[in-house]
Structure formats: C-alpha cells, structure tokens
Symmetry: D2
Subunit: 365 residues, 4 copies
C-alpha cells in the first residue's frame, strides 16, 4: 500500500502535489445525516493558508474547498465525500536550479532512492501543501465530533526557546502564531524576526486538548487510541516527537505519583483526580481530557548557502530560492487538530460494535 | 477492526490473555525460503521472560515457543507462521479481591466502559504478556532483516533519574537491566532497590538503533516509516512518548544546525555528515542509522494502598497483590526491538512495487 | 498481503497445513458478551469431518476444537478468539512419490511458480483441511447471527447430473450427502458408487439460504454484500462458479419479469412479491431471504494413472495414492454456510456506523 | 469501511454520484515510471460512454478524463493518481416524481433502510455512472499490464437468448454491441429492438480473456485470484453470476475430464493440454489464459407502469421517466475489462514479496 489512505471506518485518502493541478481528499465512511457544507471546511483551510503573517510563505493561494460528492440537500449521504482545492500560484520555475540537487533536511534524496525519479517542483507530494487534504477531512471529522459534544483544540506551545506560560483561549485565535499567551507571542515574534534576519528557521511544539470524549473509545492492542494518534501526528511532515499526557516526563516519575486515582465527581460519574495519563489508559479513552504534544523541526528550506550533493553524486553548493516559512508550527497547529479529530472520529465509529447490546440496539433486534 | 492485527504485507495478528490458555501470533506475508526454527525465536522470548532478576516479577513461565505452521524442512513456506506459547504459572486467585475495583493507571475502567465486561485476571488482554506474540513475530522479522544485512538493537537508556553516559555493547547484554553502561547500571539498581523498599515503581527510557538499512523504504504520506514506528512503539503498554533522531530537541534548534548536509563517503556512496534526522527524511529511510527513543511510565501495580472506585461507583481503598515488576523497561527493551523489526520488514516488503523496473525484474518481463 | 485474513470488522485469520501440527483461526472483532463455548463449534466441525460415509476420505481425524482465548466465564470478551484443531492422522509418506510431480487440477505447479518451493504433503496450505479454521469461525458467526434472529442453511443442490426436486429440511440433516430430497440422494449415491468404481470423481452444486436478514446491510460499491459473498464462496477450493438469486438465468430474462415488485405484507412491512434478486439490491440486503448457489469441480485427486510433468519439466505418468473424497460437495456444504455467516456478521457489524442517529445511540449522545 | 476502496497494493477509491458535480477515482500504489497520459484513459471511457447507439441512454456526456495528480513529465511518480470526470447533462428534474417511490429492481429501498436517506437523483451512488471511476482506473491498470506483456479483452457473449457462435476479434470492436460475431450481433439487435418496442429490457453475459499472464500470481487462501476477480466483477451493478473456466459446467463433469494434464510446449515451458480451470489453480495463476464470465440482469428501469410502494409504506403505481439503456451489457463490457485489469495488477504487485530471492533482488542485497 502506498500509504495515502488513513483510518479504518472514517477513512481518508489524500492526493495531490505542491505544483500539480490541485490537492484533494476523499472521505469514505462518514455517517449519513450529518449537516455539512463548504462553510464548515473553509475556516480550517484558512488557518493553514499561506500569507497570513510575515512568518509564513508569501505564496498566494486562496485554498478554496469545493465539495464534489457525498453531500445532498445539506447533509452527508453516507457515500464518499470528495473535496478538491485547486492550486493557483505555482512558481515551478523557482525549482529549476535545484532539480538535480538534494536539499538538506528534505525528502529529495529519499524520493530518488525509492522511486528512481522525483517531482522536483516544491517537494511534490512531500510538500506541506499535502496537508490541505488532511485539514479538509479534519474539518468534517470535527463537525461529527461536535455533534457528539467533543471539541478538539490545538495551539502553539513553544517556538524555539519561548514557551507559553499562561493559557488565554481568546488570545490563541487572536495572534497569528496561535499562541494562547500574548507575552510569549511577542517574545516568539522577536525570536522569529531574528531567525529571518539570519536566513535561518526555527522549531517549536504544538499541544492539543480534546474535551468531551466519552470513555471506551480505542482498542487494547495495536490500535490503541494513543498509538493511532502517534501515527497520525508523526505522519505530519517535520514532526519528530510525540507524547501523550505527561509524556517523556513519566520516565523520571514513580508509580505513586504517576498513577491517577479514580474518584466520583459531583454528578456521580467516575473520573480521575489527576490526568497524568492524558485521557487514555491501556489504549482506550477514560473520559478525561486527551492531551497530546508534538515537536516540529525547523523548516529545512533556509536561504543561506548549503553544502550538498547532486544526483550524480557530486558535491555542490546550493541556494534555495522560493518562498518559505521561517517556522512551520503556526500553520501546523490546524493540521494537528485535524489529524486528532480524524483519529477520534474513526475510533468512535470503529468501536460501535464492541458489545452485543450495541449490535442489537442498532439493528433493532 | 478490533486492532489485534498490525502491518500491511508482513502482517501479524496476536491473541491471548494473561491468565488464559496461552498467547500466540500468526504472521502472514513472510516470504518463502527464509531459514527459520524455534531456535531463532526462543532467545528473544528469553529476554522478556519474567524472573530474570530481582527487578522482574517472580511469575514462573518458561515461555517456550512452538511453531505450528508455515515452516517446512527448515524454511518458511510463504504461508502463515503460527506460533503459540502456553501459559503455565497462573495465579488467578490473586485477582479475586480486585475483580470489581478499578486499579489506578490500569485499563480496567476503560475495558468496562468499552466492553461492558472485563477479564479481571491480571489485566486479561492488557497484560504485558500480550507482548509475547509481538516478540515472537519480531524474532522472525529480525531473521528476515539479518538476511538483508540489517540489525536492530535496543537497550535501556535511562531508569528514573539515571541515564547512560557511555555505550558498551558487551555490557548491554551482560547486565539484566540491558544498560550499555556498567556504572549507570549500578546506580540504576540502587535506585530500583529503593523503589522496591518504598513499595513504589520507576519509569525509564529505551533507545533503539537500526544499522544497515537501505535508503528508500517507507512511504511519503500517512505510512511514513517514522509514523509507523511511532504507532508500533506507542502501542506497547506503558509507552507515553516517542521520538526519532533529535526528537523533542528539534523544537529549540534552528534550521542551519538541524539540517544534515549530504556528502559522499569514501566508497562514493551518498551519505549525511550528521544524523539529526535519525535516518528518515520525509517518511523514507535515507540510508543512515535509524535512531528512536521512547519513554515508559512506572509500573502502575504498586503494593502500597491506593484510593480508587469500584464498578458500582463507590470509593474504595485497594491493595494490589500479585507479582509485579518495579520497572517495565528492561523487559520492554526486546519488545521495542521486536516492533521496530516488524515495521522495517513490512516497509521493505511493501515497498517492493514502488518502481516499474522492480516489477519487471521480479516478474521476469 | 498474503491473503490469510478475511473481513473488515468481524475479521478472521486462518493458519495451518494439511500435514503440519494443526489448523487454526483467530477471530478478531467479535463483540463482547456473546455466549460461546466449544459446544457451539464442534457440531460444525463434525459436519465437515472426514470419514462420515463411504463418499468421504478415510483419513481419521476427530477435529476437536479448542478455544484458546477470547472467552471468559462463558462469554466472548471482545478480544481475539483463537481456536486450534490439532492434526492427528497424517500419512505424509503417501506423498513421497509425488513430491516432484505436478498433480493435474491441483495447485502444486502454481505453488512452485509463486514460492519457488512447496509443501508437497497433501497440498500443504491448499488442502481442504485449511477450511477447518473457516468452519470454526463460521460457527462463531452463526452464534452471533442467531442472537439477531438470522439463520443460514446450506445444502447439496446437485451431484453430477442428479439435482434435488423437492425440499425436505429434515431429510437434509439425515443423509450424509446433505441433500434435502431422499430420492435424489439415492440416485446421487448410485452415481457416486459408479464414480468410485471407475476411479473417478464428481462435481456438484451447493445452495445456501439466509432468513431473518434485516434490510440495510452491505455497501453500495465494492463491498456489495453479494460481491463479498462471491469472494468468500469462490475462495473455497474447488468452487468455479457463484450466483445470487436467479443468477445466470437473468441473462435470458427481461426486465418486466426480473424486477421484483415491492408490496406491503400483512404486518405493514415493506417486502417484495417475488425474489429474483436473491435478497440483495444494489449490494444491500432488502430484507428478503438471501439465496446463493455455487458449483464445485470434481475432486482432482483420482486414482487412475494421469499424464503430467515433474519439476524438472519432464513428462511423467503419476498415480495418486492416499485417501481422497470422490466428491467434495457434501463436506463443502458447511464451509459454504460458514463463509456466508462470516460475511453477514461482518456486514452487520461494519454497517453500524452508517447513520448519525445510530452513532448517537451507541455513544449515548 | 464504507467500501469505496478496492485492492491491496494497486488500490483504487472511487467517488461521485450520477447527478452530483462529477465522478472520480484515486489510484494509490501505481509504480513510478509508467508512461501515462489522458490519451491512455479516454478510449476506455469512450467505450462506456452513453449515446453510442440506439441501445444506450441518450444522456449526453463527453466523459472527459482529467488527470489531477501523480503524473509528471509523462510518467507516473508513484504517488496517488487522481482522475476526475465532470458531470454535464444532468436532468435531475426527471426524478422529482419518483423521489419517494421505491423503483423495483433498484437500490432505493435499501438505501433508505441503510442510511435513512437517499439521493433520489438517478440512483445517486448506485448509478451506472459510478463505474466511470473504475474504468479510468482500469485503463491505468491495463497500461501497466501491457508493459508486462499481458492483455485483457472482454466482449459480449450473449444478449437475451442470442449467443455468439464464432469469435471474430475485429468484429468485436466494429459493432456497438461489442459482440465478436456479426451474425449474432444482428440477431441481438433485432431482439433488442423488440424489447424497446415492448418497453422492456434484456439481460446478457460478458466474457473476458486474459493472455500473457505469468504463473504464480494470486494467493492460496482468501485472496485467491479467482475470488478477487469474483468480488470485482460481482461488485458491478446488475451482475448476478460469475464463473471461471468451465464454471457451472464443472458440476456435471467427472475428474478425469475436468483435470487439465500438464505438458511441455515446444519452447520447453510447462503448460496444460486443456484449460478447464480457466488459468487459475488453487487461487494462483497457472500461466494459461484466464477466462471468466458473468451474467447481467435486464436494466430495471423500464418505462411501462410498475407496482411498488412509497416511503410511507403505501402501494403506488409508478412510471419511470428519464433516459435508460434497454440493455446494460455492451456498456458493461469495458467495466468488466477494467475490473479484471485492476485485480491482476494488484495481484502482480502484491505478490512481489512471495520469495526471499525476489526481496534480495529488489533491495540489492
């Protein structure tokens, strides 16, 4: 399998390259009867769109979603939802001088090794534009989750050495770095300005919180909810680390601290006193908030001269032209949110047959 | 899908519970003609076997593998390889006093939420014994990789606050903590003795290095090699974080440091001067060593009294009896190695049809 | 994928060869809370067991099922159900004289072509014994269907030139040819005696009827219910044709005859006046009985001398020794029933998420 | 899974409805380096296009394929090939009078049962237009097969009571009924004219022959080559029966006739004296021609008044307006060819890892 499909029941297939005719996604397995229109999808695409601030590429794309199938009279029909976004502002010429050189930190050399051949225009399928299909599908998943009372929220947690110290939900959507802390955002902006001045780029981290998730979603062995989230998030280009709940900090913890005691809330519902686990135990949601984090590497396309080799195996110097983000994090925030929503929607739909009493309920027997 | 199957072409399905009749795995898609016998599998199982040191549970299991199918006259036949390990030393009685209580840090509550029902004997399917099937399958994958010149080596990187500072390959297999640093091992042992004395448990980290991997394995979108590794490793019970190459450190790096320059080695082969990427770029192996790391939480079963609730939603105190590891890391090392081997074998087999010239070569056209 | 797994949600993986240690199946995705024991499975295995009459091989196997996992306190747990059947009466020696000869009508040559290698003992994985795992899994599916009010019944429709002319449900289980027509059974027995006398073998057809199926199961495109049934039945060794409802007869029909008019039954339920469609329209069950048929070829193992070639490409004469059925049909009846039950169980479980209102119902939102 | 995806390695996902914006397909897993352009696809689409003769619907569609991704500089890149065909001539108004009535022989009632909801315009997803995506993908598969020396040819074998008696390859592409027998074509045309006059429709059969197939493709258990062909062909709307080789005739055959003796051809290659098996033994290709056949029901849309019920469960008479084919067979011929090509391409690509020596060959180890 060439790996452009993700999910078991809520299953998405993406297609398209950076400098081809467009980008798209087919969602198969979305239940019938969900109210849906382009207006649900566009705000998600707008959040990852280039050109939002001085910290994102100047490529000019409206990234307008068109729903081609699967929706009738304002509702999903249960059949595949095909969504397409045409490419517009392609400067393929920018790449002609690097078509036989392997950009450091990029997949160019690996593509040649695998396929004997590559689409050298802006990374082809390895471009960040590939995530457009994921974001469109994630918007649909988010609509489904919202109907079930579940919300998914991602934001920038750190940029280079600057981490958030407070959490202000309104601030998060106000600034273009998607940082829920105005002071941190200001420091991060200064840091990024300095990166740009030095023809350099910066890494950062993204955090995502899911609230309203019912207990009982996810599977106990390979398809653990956290394992599927890890795959989903690590499949986003530039992500090099993933963690859930306390994540890497558990390595230095002891059991008596790390265990979350169960308790009863004021409504008589079973809950946990703490949430070191990040909302998942044994691969299955426990009803607490799901909390995950990931680390993104600095954008590999930097405009200073770099040493590399070409496809003839000769050492060469290269200068990458074109329009590149000095940091990928703010635009990746919505991609993390989208992939998280897709995994949760899939787990909820796949898990419907876990018990005989649910089977009887649905089939009226 | 209930999620007991993993992989696309080299595909494994595990079964079995902690206190059932046994544990097993079916491997479908292993190529024909690979020399294989139980002697290839047993050493892997022995590494995860209980009772190896004072830091592992006293449960007494020989964990002997029996190959039931798929091997004929010492070679794989291309048909499913079924491997079974009978359970022996089951103290199910140990669990009768906790059958209606939800152990903190365990999946008990989630199982009840999902299935309306749980096998309360030792965690059932969520037990660490489930990994026996993975390890047996990983041993087969390792044989396959070895035939292609690829080796996978995992070891303990840290236990609680104690990290390795040197790397001594021989030491690694000499001590029962699988730490490649004798001094660190000594410190870690003292730390664990203290945990035991305090009826507590410890977390830690595991590192895994793959050498000899050819460039060109893995897929560019959802089935990125690192994404599949992340899923594989995060699906191991107790793992809460995963990273590849520099991992979370990339968040504070700048592009000019993080980019690995391509160069030519003395044999004229394209390679990288550094390996921040951990051997994978754009989801595809680049021919450098693959380096990954994960964090394991402290064993949730500790013998001090803990607050929890029972299945009637009443607060109760519980004391967990039974035989439990004060740390899971040393026994999880071989599970990480096994899952890594499985992902790599699958990527290599799945990737065979990436180019028309390979298709022609195999079909003789 | 090596193709030993079948199904999406109710998913089975079989393993084992004719002359290996045993045969088995792992069922993943069976809902929790289904009452199940070996006593539900054994009667199905007994129906396909050898040695039931003079028309089946004399190989002496008790074919006793052992449930190894997935059942606790008499109910399924929602985790994999592993079932094993040990081989007992293996006369591998019978095959030593044919190990390098390609038996006509068998897969020997194809195995060598594919794997470069074959298990020559009784066909290895291509043996009819492979169906034991399917039958065990089908028995579990049948239990699930019965809970939902659905029954699956297969029987012999014809043997060589002898077809049933009446339908007597009791007779069907009384005679060892599984023919629901005593007179036809008598004629068929005489025909088979003649085949045996002539060292020959006979083909035949099997019919399967499903009653109690709700409308709305199956998918409209590739996973049409009839398409999945076709794959399931055609995957049984020796089956060369499959049809649903009127099947091949529709080719000569006109629309006004073939269309089944909808009507209202006495309970006010929508039903059809006729059932040319065989219970499936557009790939989805319509609530009528599902009726399917398949054709089995004559057993290729016949004891008269046959011309063939050996693996060196030399023409040779061969005589097949061993114990072979003069007809496969009576023993294949339960395999058809099992595969049908598996497909239906899978369609019902997979289809639970087709509508938002079902999603809400199951997740209590 | 909602079932709009087919295949394991050469994997297609179709989308689109009869009266939506368009129809499309995404092909994932096509090897890199295959020469491909719209000119390879259009001739296949033209063969299934409406309006070719008086025996096909008058709906006026150019059915022009646009390749949106996966092809660069005239060759496939190994990444998803997305192909779209815009709908043009939609007379949705034709359906307003039947939107709450269940057309006999159609999926309307089943859609309502499954989804609680249907797209009543021309059958929505159940329309014959859904096959456009299959045909476009099949054209790509055919290009791949041609590179390997394999050709797939389907044609009309019978229309109502009129069967071909000779085989004239040129005639086949000359007449619009795709019958390789001019005399039969003439008789069939007269028969169809009569059907039209009587406001009725006709069934028929299609045959497909594959030549040049290497031995060794397909898997021995569930993914038998014939089982996958059966699913592929039975998933085409209106197909009610499928057979391979001698098909249903084997039921009356004896083993000594039905077994195909192996022999050596003049080039020293192992072959079979006869081909009752239709090119597949034990689920694996044997190197002979693959021969399959299927039966299509009469078009259910006929213009005479029919009895049915509406969605309120009331008996009503209905008259179906719109533009309908009196027979589906001639337009389904290319769909059968396409689906056959897709299954074969998938089997060849999936089967590349069957042996260790192939694995070594491809990975250069």
């Amino acid at each position: 399998m060439a790996g452009s499909t993700f999910g078991t029941i809520f299953r998405i297939t993406t297609w398209g390259e950076s400098h081809g005719k467009g980008i798209g996604v087919v969602i198969d397995g979305c239940p019938a009867g969900l109210p849906l229109s382009e207006a649900d999808i566009q705000p998600y695409l707008d959040r990852r769109k280039p050109g939002q601030s001085r910290f994102t590429t100047k490529r000019n794309e409206s990234d307008t979603a068109e729903i081609l199938s699967g929706v009738f009279e304002g509702k999903t029909t249960g059949t595949p939802i095909s969504i397409m976004i045409r490419n517009a502002d392609q400067h393929s010429g920018d790449y002609s001088n690097i078509c036989d050189k392997y950009r450091p930190g990029h997949a160019d050399f690996c593509f040649d090794s695998k396929y004997g051949f590559r689409d050298y225009r802006g990374g082809g399928r390895s471009s960040g534009r590939e995530t457009i299909g994921r974001v469109a599908a994630g918007a649909v998943a988010a609509v489904l989750l919202r109907e079930l009372g579940i919300t998914v929220t991602a934001y920038t947690r750190s940029i280079g050495p600057v981490s958030i110290e407070t959490f202000d939900a309104e601030e998060m959507s106000r600034n273009k770095l998607y940082m829920p802390d105005a002071a941190a955002c200001e420091k991060a902006s200064a840091y990024l300005d300095n990166c740009i001045a030095e023809q350099n780029s910066s890494g950062g981290t993204i955090e995502c919180v899911v609230s309203g998730m019912p207990a009982g979603a996810g599977d106990p062995v390979f398809d653990k909810l956290d394992a599927n989230l890890a795959k989903a998030i690590m499949s986003i280009g530039s992500v090099k680390g993933f963690e859930i709940g306390d994540g890497f900090r558990v390595a230095e913890a002891v059991g008596s601290e790390n265990n979350d005691a169960f308790t009863i809330d004021k409504n008589g519902k079973i809950t946990k006193l703490t949430n070191h686990a990040g909302g998942i135990l044994g691969g299955i949601s426990d009803g607490s908030d799901i909390v995950l984090r990931c680390a993104c590497k600095p954008t590999p396309s930097i405009s200073r001269p770099q040493q590399t080799v070409n496809s003839n195996g000769e050492p060469v110097e290269m200068i990458i032209k074109g329009r590149h983000d000095p940091i990928i994090v703010p635009r990746a925030v919505v991609v993390v949110e989208a992939m998280t929503a897709i995994v949760l929607a899939d787990a909820l739909l796949s898990g419907m047959s876990a018990r005989m009493d649910s089977v009887r309920k649905v089939w009226g027997r």
